[in-house]
Symmetry: C2
Subunit: 199 residues, 2 copies
Protein backbone atom coordinates (compact mmCIF):
# COMPACT_ATOMS: atom_id res chain seq x y z
CA UNK A 1 0.00 0.00 0.00
CA UNK A 2 1.33 3.39 -1.04
CA UNK A 3 -0.73 5.15 1.63
CA UNK A 4 -3.69 4.66 3.96
CA UNK A 5 -7.31 4.34 2.86
CA UNK A 6 -10.08 6.80 3.57
CA UNK A 7 -13.17 4.65 4.10
CA UNK A 8 -16.65 6.09 4.50
CA UNK A 9 -19.57 4.11 5.92
CA UNK A 10 -23.02 5.47 5.29
CA UNK A 11 -26.60 4.29 4.99
CA UNK A 12 -30.05 4.86 6.40
CA UNK A 13 -30.84 5.13 10.07
CA UNK A 14 -31.59 1.64 11.39
CA UNK A 15 -29.45 -0.27 8.87
CA UNK A 16 -26.69 -0.82 11.39
CA UNK A 17 -23.89 1.44 10.11
CA UNK A 18 -22.99 2.67 13.62
CA UNK A 19 -22.52 -0.86 14.98
CA UNK A 20 -20.53 -1.93 11.92
CA UNK A 21 -18.40 1.22 12.22
CA UNK A 22 -17.55 0.44 15.86
CA UNK A 23 -16.91 -3.28 15.10
CA UNK A 24 -14.58 -2.47 12.21
CA UNK A 25 -12.63 0.16 14.19
CA UNK A 26 -12.11 -2.43 16.90
CA UNK A 27 -11.31 -5.45 14.74
CA UNK A 28 -9.13 -3.73 12.14
CA UNK A 29 -7.44 -1.35 14.58
CA UNK A 30 -8.38 1.51 12.27
CA UNK A 31 -8.09 5.19 13.02
CA UNK A 32 -11.29 6.83 14.12
CA UNK A 33 -11.74 10.30 12.76
CA UNK A 34 -12.50 12.79 15.54
CA UNK A 35 -15.15 15.31 14.50
CA UNK A 36 -15.33 18.98 15.34
CA UNK A 37 -18.56 20.25 16.90
CA UNK A 38 -20.10 23.42 18.25
CA UNK A 39 -22.37 21.57 20.64
CA UNK A 40 -21.50 21.61 24.34
CA UNK A 41 -19.57 18.63 25.72
CA UNK A 42 -21.74 16.08 27.53
CA UNK A 43 -20.60 14.78 30.92
CA UNK A 44 -17.57 12.54 30.45
CA UNK A 45 -16.79 13.67 26.90
CA UNK A 46 -13.16 14.58 26.39
CA UNK A 47 -11.96 17.31 23.98
CA UNK A 48 -9.81 15.77 21.24
CA UNK A 49 -11.07 12.25 21.97
CA UNK A 50 -14.84 12.34 21.56
CA UNK A 51 -14.91 15.61 19.63
CA UNK A 52 -12.92 18.75 19.14
CA UNK A 53 -15.21 21.25 20.87
CA UNK A 54 -15.26 24.69 19.24
CA UNK A 55 -17.30 27.87 19.53
CA UNK A 56 -19.47 28.79 16.59
CA UNK A 57 -17.06 31.60 15.75
CA UNK A 58 -14.08 29.23 15.69
CA UNK A 59 -16.12 26.80 13.61
CA UNK A 60 -17.00 29.44 11.04
CA UNK A 61 -13.35 30.42 10.79
CA UNK A 62 -12.47 26.76 10.11
CA UNK A 63 -15.11 26.63 7.35
CA UNK A 64 -13.75 29.86 5.84
CA UNK A 65 -10.20 28.46 5.91
CA UNK A 66 -11.35 25.31 4.05
CA UNK A 67 -10.34 23.07 6.93
CA UNK A 68 -13.24 20.62 6.60
CA UNK A 69 -13.71 17.49 4.52
CA UNK A 70 -17.41 17.78 5.24
CA UNK A 71 -19.59 19.79 7.56
CA UNK A 72 -23.25 19.56 8.49
CA UNK A 73 -25.75 21.33 10.72
CA UNK A 74 -27.87 19.18 13.02
CA UNK A 75 -30.42 20.92 15.28
CA UNK A 76 -28.57 24.27 15.51
CA UNK A 77 -25.21 22.62 16.09
CA UNK A 78 -22.44 22.07 13.58
CA UNK A 79 -20.54 18.85 13.08
CA UNK A 80 -17.57 18.58 10.76
CA UNK A 81 -14.64 16.40 9.77
CA UNK A 82 -11.31 18.25 9.86
CA UNK A 83 -9.03 17.50 6.90
CA UNK A 84 -5.58 17.82 8.47
CA UNK A 85 -5.53 14.82 10.87
CA UNK A 86 -7.21 12.63 8.24
CA UNK A 87 -4.60 13.32 5.58
CA UNK A 88 -1.80 13.04 8.10
CA UNK A 89 -2.97 9.50 8.91
CA UNK A 90 -3.43 8.56 5.27
CA UNK A 91 -0.02 9.90 4.28
CA UNK A 92 1.50 7.81 7.08
CA UNK A 93 -0.13 4.65 5.76
CA UNK A 94 -2.90 4.49 8.34
CA UNK A 95 -6.45 3.81 7.16
CA UNK A 96 -9.16 6.13 8.44
CA UNK A 97 -12.81 5.17 8.82
CA UNK A 98 -15.81 7.53 8.89
CA UNK A 99 -19.45 7.15 9.65
CA UNK A 100 -21.35 9.87 7.81
CA UNK A 101 -24.72 10.50 6.20
CA UNK A 102 -25.19 10.47 2.44
CA UNK A 103 -24.51 14.22 2.16
CA UNK A 104 -21.26 13.74 4.06
CA UNK A 105 -20.30 10.84 1.79
CA UNK A 106 -20.91 12.97 -1.30
CA UNK A 107 -18.92 15.85 0.11
CA UNK A 108 -15.97 13.60 1.01
CA UNK A 109 -16.02 11.88 -2.40
CA UNK A 110 -15.94 15.30 -4.09
CA UNK A 111 -12.93 16.45 -2.12
CA UNK A 112 -11.16 13.09 -2.15
CA UNK A 113 -12.31 10.87 -5.04
CA UNK A 114 -10.07 8.00 -3.86
CA UNK A 115 -12.27 7.62 -0.76
CA UNK A 116 -13.90 4.19 -0.54
CA UNK A 117 -17.62 4.66 0.10
CA UNK A 118 -19.68 1.82 1.55
CA UNK A 119 -23.47 1.96 1.80
CA UNK A 120 -24.96 -0.19 4.55
CA UNK A 121 -28.53 -1.29 3.87
CA UNK A 122 -30.95 -3.82 5.30
CA UNK A 123 -31.87 -6.70 2.92
CA UNK A 124 -35.06 -4.75 2.09
CA UNK A 125 -37.27 -1.92 3.37
CA UNK A 126 -39.58 -4.26 5.28
CA UNK A 127 -36.64 -5.33 7.47
CA UNK A 128 -35.67 -1.67 7.94
CA UNK A 129 -39.20 -0.83 9.07
CA UNK A 130 -39.19 -3.78 11.47
CA UNK A 131 -35.87 -2.65 12.99
CA UNK A 132 -37.05 0.94 13.39
CA UNK A 133 -40.23 -0.28 15.11
CA UNK A 134 -38.15 -2.67 17.24
CA UNK A 135 -36.35 0.30 18.77
CA UNK A 136 -39.58 1.21 20.50
CA UNK A 137 -38.51 4.86 20.58
CA UNK A 138 -39.81 6.07 17.23
CA UNK A 139 -43.24 7.56 16.62
CA UNK A 140 -45.30 6.39 13.65
CA UNK A 141 -44.52 9.69 11.99
CA UNK A 142 -40.78 9.45 12.52
CA UNK A 143 -40.81 5.86 11.18
CA UNK A 144 -42.51 7.12 7.99
CA UNK A 145 -39.99 9.97 7.71
CA UNK A 146 -37.03 7.66 8.21
CA UNK A 147 -38.31 5.14 5.63
CA UNK A 148 -38.79 7.96 3.14
CA UNK A 149 -35.26 9.22 3.79
CA UNK A 150 -33.91 5.67 3.45
CA UNK A 151 -35.42 5.33 -0.04
CA UNK A 152 -34.02 8.69 -0.98
CA UNK A 153 -30.58 7.72 0.35
CA UNK A 154 -30.52 4.37 -1.46
CA UNK A 155 -31.47 6.16 -4.68
CA UNK A 156 -28.07 7.93 -4.43
CA UNK A 157 -26.36 4.52 -4.83
CA UNK A 158 -24.08 5.74 -7.60
CA UNK A 159 -22.18 7.86 -5.05
CA UNK A 160 -21.01 4.61 -3.47
CA UNK A 161 -18.44 1.98 -4.40
CA UNK A 162 -19.89 -0.84 -2.33
CA UNK A 163 -23.20 -1.89 -0.84
CA UNK A 164 -23.40 -4.25 2.13
CA UNK A 165 -26.76 -5.85 2.85
CA UNK A 166 -26.80 -6.18 6.62
CA UNK A 167 -28.73 -9.37 7.27
CA UNK A 168 -26.42 -10.43 10.10
CA UNK A 169 -24.24 -7.90 11.91
CA UNK A 170 -21.17 -10.17 12.12
CA UNK A 171 -21.33 -11.07 8.44
CA UNK A 172 -21.83 -7.42 7.50
CA UNK A 173 -18.82 -6.41 9.63
CA UNK A 174 -16.84 -9.17 7.92
CA UNK A 175 -17.87 -7.83 4.51
CA UNK A 176 -16.63 -4.34 5.36
CA UNK A 177 -13.33 -5.79 6.61
CA UNK A 178 -13.01 -7.78 3.37
CA UNK A 179 -13.71 -4.65 1.33
CA UNK A 180 -10.96 -2.80 3.21
CA UNK A 181 -8.47 -5.65 2.68
CA UNK A 182 -9.41 -5.91 -1.00
CA UNK A 183 -8.93 -2.16 -1.45
CA UNK A 184 -5.44 -2.52 0.05
CA UNK A 185 -4.72 -4.91 -2.85
CA UNK A 186 -5.99 -2.61 -5.59
CA UNK A 187 -3.33 -1.93 -8.20
CA UNK A 188 -4.07 1.81 -8.07
CA UNK A 189 -3.21 1.78 -4.35
CA UNK A 190 0.12 0.02 -4.94
CA UNK A 191 1.61 1.80 -7.94
CA UNK A 192 4.48 3.25 -5.90
CA UNK A 193 5.39 -0.21 -4.59
CA UNK A 194 5.16 -1.76 -8.07
CA UNK A 195 7.31 0.95 -9.66
CA UNK A 196 9.88 0.45 -6.94
CA UNK A 197 10.04 -3.27 -7.68
CA UNK A 198 10.48 -2.56 -11.39
CA UNK A 199 13.42 -0.19 -10.86
CA UNK B 1 -25.26 -9.89 -6.89
CA UNK B 2 -26.90 -9.42 -10.28
CA UNK B 3 -24.76 -12.15 -11.86
CA UNK B 4 -21.60 -14.18 -11.30
CA UNK B 5 -18.07 -12.80 -11.41
CA UNK B 6 -15.42 -13.64 -13.94
CA UNK B 7 -12.17 -13.67 -12.00
CA UNK B 8 -8.78 -14.02 -13.65
CA UNK B 9 -5.63 -14.96 -11.73
CA UNK B 10 -2.33 -14.29 -13.43
CA UNK B 11 1.27 -13.57 -12.55
CA UNK B 12 4.79 -14.81 -13.22
CA UNK B 13 5.86 -18.42 -13.09
CA UNK B 14 6.96 -19.19 -9.52
CA UNK B 15 4.74 -16.60 -7.79
CA UNK B 16 2.22 -19.23 -6.71
CA UNK B 17 -0.81 -18.44 -8.87
CA UNK B 18 -1.50 -22.14 -9.57
CA UNK B 19 -1.63 -23.05 -5.88
CA UNK B 20 -3.77 -20.02 -5.06
CA UNK B 21 -6.08 -20.88 -7.97
CA UNK B 22 -6.61 -24.42 -6.65
CA UNK B 23 -7.05 -23.22 -3.04
CA UNK B 24 -9.65 -20.64 -4.02
CA UNK B 25 -11.59 -23.08 -6.22
CA UNK B 26 -11.72 -25.46 -3.26
CA UNK B 27 -12.50 -22.96 -0.51
CA UNK B 28 -14.98 -20.78 -2.37
CA UNK B 29 -16.60 -23.63 -4.29
CA UNK B 30 -16.07 -21.64 -7.48
CA UNK B 31 -16.55 -22.91 -11.02
CA UNK B 32 -13.37 -23.99 -12.74
CA UNK B 33 -13.27 -23.09 -16.39
CA UNK B 34 -12.44 -26.15 -18.53
CA UNK B 35 -10.05 -25.27 -21.37
CA UNK B 36 -10.04 -26.58 -24.91
CA UNK B 37 -6.76 -28.06 -26.19
CA UNK B 38 -5.34 -29.71 -29.27
CA UNK B 39 -2.76 -31.66 -27.31
CA UNK B 40 -3.32 -35.40 -26.81
CA UNK B 41 -4.92 -36.49 -23.53
CA UNK B 42 -2.46 -37.77 -20.96
CA UNK B 43 -3.21 -41.03 -19.13
CA UNK B 44 -6.09 -40.48 -16.74
CA UNK B 45 -7.25 -37.18 -18.26
CA UNK B 46 -10.97 -37.07 -18.97
CA UNK B 47 -12.54 -35.17 -21.87
CA UNK B 48 -14.82 -32.40 -20.54
CA UNK B 49 -13.27 -32.54 -17.07
CA UNK B 50 -9.55 -31.86 -17.49
CA UNK B 51 -9.88 -30.40 -20.98
CA UNK B 52 -12.11 -30.49 -23.98
CA UNK B 53 -9.84 -32.37 -26.41
CA UNK B 54 -10.15 -31.24 -30.03
CA UNK B 55 -8.31 -31.80 -33.30
CA UNK B 56 -6.44 -28.85 -34.74
CA UNK B 57 -9.09 -28.57 -37.46
CA UNK B 58 -11.92 -28.43 -34.90
CA UNK B 59 -9.92 -25.88 -32.89
CA UNK B 60 -9.41 -23.63 -35.93
CA UNK B 61 -13.14 -23.80 -36.63
CA UNK B 62 -13.84 -22.69 -33.05
CA UNK B 63 -11.45 -19.74 -33.49
CA UNK B 64 -13.12 -18.79 -36.77
CA UNK B 65 -16.53 -18.95 -35.09
CA UNK B 66 -15.34 -16.59 -32.31
CA UNK B 67 -15.97 -19.21 -29.65
CA UNK B 68 -12.96 -18.33 -27.48
CA UNK B 69 -12.48 -15.80 -24.70
CA UNK B 70 -8.75 -16.28 -25.18
CA UNK B 71 -6.52 -18.70 -27.05
CA UNK B 72 -2.77 -19.31 -26.98
CA UNK B 73 -0.22 -21.57 -28.63
CA UNK B 74 2.22 -23.39 -26.34
CA UNK B 75 4.82 -25.67 -27.97
CA UNK B 76 2.80 -26.48 -31.11
CA UNK B 77 -0.39 -27.08 -29.14
CA UNK B 78 -3.32 -24.75 -28.72
CA UNK B 79 -5.07 -23.97 -25.46
CA UNK B 80 -8.17 -21.84 -25.26
CA UNK B 81 -11.04 -20.78 -23.02
CA UNK B 82 -14.45 -21.36 -24.57
CA UNK B 83 -16.90 -18.51 -24.05
CA UNK B 84 -20.24 -20.33 -23.89
CA UNK B 85 -19.91 -22.28 -20.59
CA UNK B 86 -18.30 -19.26 -18.89
CA UNK B 87 -21.15 -16.90 -19.73
CA UNK B 88 -23.72 -19.55 -18.90
CA UNK B 89 -22.26 -19.79 -15.40
CA UNK B 90 -22.02 -16.03 -14.96
CA UNK B 91 -25.60 -15.47 -16.16
CA UNK B 92 -26.73 -18.05 -13.63
CA UNK B 93 -25.01 -16.20 -10.78
CA UNK B 94 -22.04 -18.57 -10.50
CA UNK B 95 -18.56 -17.06 -10.25
CA UNK B 96 -15.91 -18.44 -12.60
CA UNK B 97 -12.19 -18.44 -11.87
CA UNK B 98 -9.36 -18.62 -14.44
CA UNK B 99 -5.66 -19.07 -14.23
CA UNK B 100 -4.11 -17.49 -17.33
CA UNK B 101 -0.91 -15.76 -18.42
CA UNK B 102 -0.76 -12.00 -18.90
CA UNK B 103 -1.68 -12.26 -22.60
CA UNK B 104 -4.73 -14.32 -21.63
CA UNK B 105 -5.68 -11.75 -18.97
CA UNK B 106 -5.46 -8.94 -21.53
CA UNK B 107 -7.51 -10.86 -24.05
CA UNK B 108 -10.24 -11.64 -21.48
CA UNK B 109 -10.35 -8.04 -20.22
CA UNK B 110 -10.77 -6.84 -23.81
CA UNK B 111 -13.70 -9.15 -24.45
CA UNK B 112 -15.22 -8.78 -21.00
CA UNK B 113 -14.17 -5.54 -19.27
CA UNK B 114 -16.10 -6.49 -16.11
CA UNK B 115 -13.65 -9.34 -15.49
CA UNK B 116 -11.77 -8.97 -12.21
CA UNK B 117 -8.06 -9.41 -12.88
CA UNK B 118 -5.69 -10.32 -10.04
CA UNK B 119 -1.92 -10.32 -10.44
CA UNK B 120 -0.07 -12.65 -8.06
CA UNK B 121 3.49 -11.59 -7.36
CA UNK B 122 6.19 -12.49 -4.85
CA UNK B 123 7.11 -9.71 -2.39
CA UNK B 124 10.09 -8.92 -4.68
CA UNK B 125 12.19 -10.41 -7.49
CA UNK B 126 14.81 -11.84 -5.10
CA UNK B 127 12.12 -14.05 -3.53
CA UNK B 128 10.94 -15.06 -7.02
CA UNK B 129 14.48 -16.06 -7.99
CA UNK B 130 14.87 -18.06 -4.77
CA UNK B 131 11.61 -19.90 -5.41
CA UNK B 132 12.55 -20.71 -9.01
CA UNK B 133 15.94 -22.04 -7.82
CA UNK B 134 14.23 -23.96 -5.03
CA UNK B 135 12.33 -26.00 -7.61
CA UNK B 136 15.64 -27.61 -8.55
CA UNK B 137 14.30 -28.26 -12.05
CA UNK B 138 15.25 -25.01 -13.78
CA UNK B 139 18.51 -24.39 -15.62
CA UNK B 140 20.40 -21.14 -15.00
CA UNK B 141 19.29 -20.00 -18.44
CA UNK B 142 15.62 -20.77 -17.80
CA UNK B 143 15.78 -18.95 -14.45
CA UNK B 144 17.14 -15.83 -16.24
CA UNK B 145 14.43 -16.11 -18.89
CA UNK B 146 11.67 -16.50 -16.30
CA UNK B 147 12.93 -13.53 -14.25
CA UNK B 148 13.01 -11.41 -17.41
CA UNK B 149 9.45 -12.48 -18.27
CA UNK B 150 8.33 -11.75 -14.70
CA UNK B 151 9.59 -8.14 -14.95
CA UNK B 152 7.89 -7.77 -18.28
CA UNK B 153 4.65 -9.19 -16.88
CA UNK B 154 4.66 -6.94 -13.79
CA UNK B 155 5.23 -3.92 -16.06
CA UNK B 156 1.76 -4.67 -17.50
CA UNK B 157 0.25 -3.92 -14.05
CA UNK B 158 -2.31 -1.51 -15.45
CA UNK B 159 -4.15 -4.44 -17.05
CA UNK B 160 -4.97 -5.64 -13.55
CA UNK B 161 -7.42 -4.54 -10.87
CA UNK B 162 -5.62 -6.11 -7.92
CA UNK B 163 -2.13 -7.22 -6.96
CA UNK B 164 -1.55 -9.82 -4.26
CA UNK B 165 1.97 -10.09 -2.85
CA UNK B 166 2.33 -13.77 -2.03
CA UNK B 167 4.51 -13.86 1.05
CA UNK B 168 2.52 -16.66 2.65
CA UNK B 169 0.32 -18.92 0.55
CA UNK B 170 -2.57 -19.05 3.07
CA UNK B 171 -2.64 -15.29 3.46
CA UNK B 172 -2.46 -14.81 -0.31
CA UNK B 173 -5.35 -17.26 -0.79
CA UNK B 174 -7.28 -15.34 1.88
CA UNK B 175 -6.62 -12.06 0.03
CA UNK B 176 -8.01 -13.46 -3.23
CA UNK B 177 -11.10 -14.74 -1.36
CA UNK B 178 -11.54 -11.28 0.21
CA UNK B 179 -11.21 -9.64 -3.20
CA UNK B 180 -13.93 -11.93 -4.57
CA UNK B 181 -16.25 -11.20 -1.64
CA UNK B 182 -15.60 -7.46 -1.93
CA UNK B 183 -16.36 -7.54 -5.66
CA UNK B 184 -19.67 -9.23 -4.83
CA UNK B 185 -20.47 -6.09 -2.79
CA UNK B 186 -19.57 -3.61 -5.54
CA UNK B 187 -22.47 -1.30 -6.32
CA UNK B 188 -21.97 -1.87 -10.06
CA UNK B 189 -22.54 -5.61 -9.49
CA UNK B 190 -25.77 -5.01 -7.55
CA UNK B 191 -27.62 -2.39 -9.59
CA UNK B 192 -30.40 -4.82 -10.54
CA UNK B 193 -30.97 -5.70 -6.87
CA UNK B 194 -30.91 -2.03 -5.82
CA UNK B 195 -33.36 -0.97 -8.53
CA UNK B 196 -35.67 -3.78 -7.47
CA UNK B 197 -35.63 -2.54 -3.87
CA UNK B 198 -36.41 1.00 -5.03
CA UNK B 199 -39.46 -0.06 -7.07
Amino acid sequence: MDKGLLVVISGPSGAGKGTIYRNVIERAGMQRSVSVTTRAPRPGEVDGVDYFFKTEEQYQQMIAAGEFLETAAVYNNFYGTPKAPVFENIDNGRDVLFEVDVHGARSIKRKYPDAVAVFVMTPDFEVLEKRLRGRGTETEKSIRTRLGSAKNELSKYDLFDYIVFNDDIDEATESVLEIINAERCRVKNNIGTIKNLLK
